[in-house]
């Protein structure tokens, strides 16, 4: 157990909230690679304050995105309860991408661009079994071709996300069209050959290049 941290002084807590709001805004529009100096300036505090509260960038990301990621995990759970496996899968992916479209930073996190391994790994450890079960069900129901795997689903996620990243700013809805293409492809592609390695999902989502 972590020892109970003493509560923050009132002004410090106010600053902390202000920093979180500010950092979230910046990362929503610019992605995760925002400098501490930019955050401090936008919040009107000194850099030292940011470092005191979030000594590691990971600490900031945890505080910023923890609950958002729990939300996404909740979507996966909800989807896995869907009677129609394919409907559950498409609903989940569409919802997740919609959330990512509102925050570039969260998208980078969920799709494993950049740092942030701990948070991401935990999230995917929770979601992968759920998605796997859905994919298996969809295959058995004939909604997906034999040979379809959870890794294909992850690949679709990465693929649509890349269109989102490349078109954010000028065609904010283009990812929906890419999603239609990719999902139709999942249903109609010949996926019988060379099944991807079991570990591909983790690596797709955690490669830091």
């Amino acid at each position: 157990m972590t020892e109970a941290a003493p509560p923050l002084r009132r002004d410090a807590e106010r600053n902390r909230q202000l920093l979180l709001r500010t950092a979230y805004e910046l990362m929503a529009s610019q992605g995760l690679d925002v400098s501490y100096e930019d955050i401090a300036r936008a919040a009107g505090t000194g850099m030292g304050t940011v470092y005191r509260r979030f000594p590691q960038r990971q600490d900031l990301l945890d505080a910023l995105f923890g609950e958002h990621i729990d939300t996404v995990i909740g979507l996966a759970e909800q989807a896995s309860r869907h009677d129609d496996a394919w409907a559950g899968l498409t609903w989940f992916l569409e919802r997740q991408l919609q959330i990512e479209s509102r925050s570039r930073g969260l998208g980078e996190l969920l799709r494993g661009r950049n740092q942030a391994t701990a948070l991401v790994r935990r999230a995917h450890d929770r979601m992968t079994p759920l998605v796997t079960a859905l994919v298996d069900r969809a295959v058995r129901a004939g909604q997906l071709p034999a040979g379809a795997t959870p890794a294909d689903f992850a690949a679709v996620h990465v693929m649509v996300g890349s269109v989102m990243d490349a078109s954010r700013g000028h065609s904010p809805q283009l990812w929906r069209r890419a999603l239609r293409i990719a999902l139709a492809g999942m249903r109609h592609a010949d996926l019988s050959g060379d099944p991807p390695d079991e570990t591909v999902i983790d690596r797709l989502y955690n490669d830091q290049t």
Copy 2:
């Protein structure tokens, strides 16, 4: 016309070739963002030599990738002569991605991640009309659904490329599976709604974020 540059001294020309080979190797494995210092060190020269020969990074990229890009343009021309429009499209995309899989740097260039706008824009100005004609032919032939556009083709390119980038290193062939998914999606998705803006192709390929 550019005025004729005087020929390089023999030792300088030797160094130039050495730098090009070295830089190509480094960018093939690490992407375009290799520092001049890394290039100089790997080639065994001083940084000043790199700067003297290639004052702007653009100069280096032009010299490195110019002919590779012409090769890809050639592929597009060859594809556009194919009787079967769909076969031409898939052949072209597969070939182009295969080349990108051997050089991460070239992939970044062709898919518009990073700088390099001049070279990329010229290439796409040449290829876009060819691809457009192929897509139109494929639609008329019933090989692609009504509403399919060249921008969808560009999106597929970007999508498969993103899987390539995320899996390079552990699953170097995974992009082929993603390509199968994306191409099957092009044929089977409902693409009748909200056609992408005309300018989307350029922007997909030239967004520098």
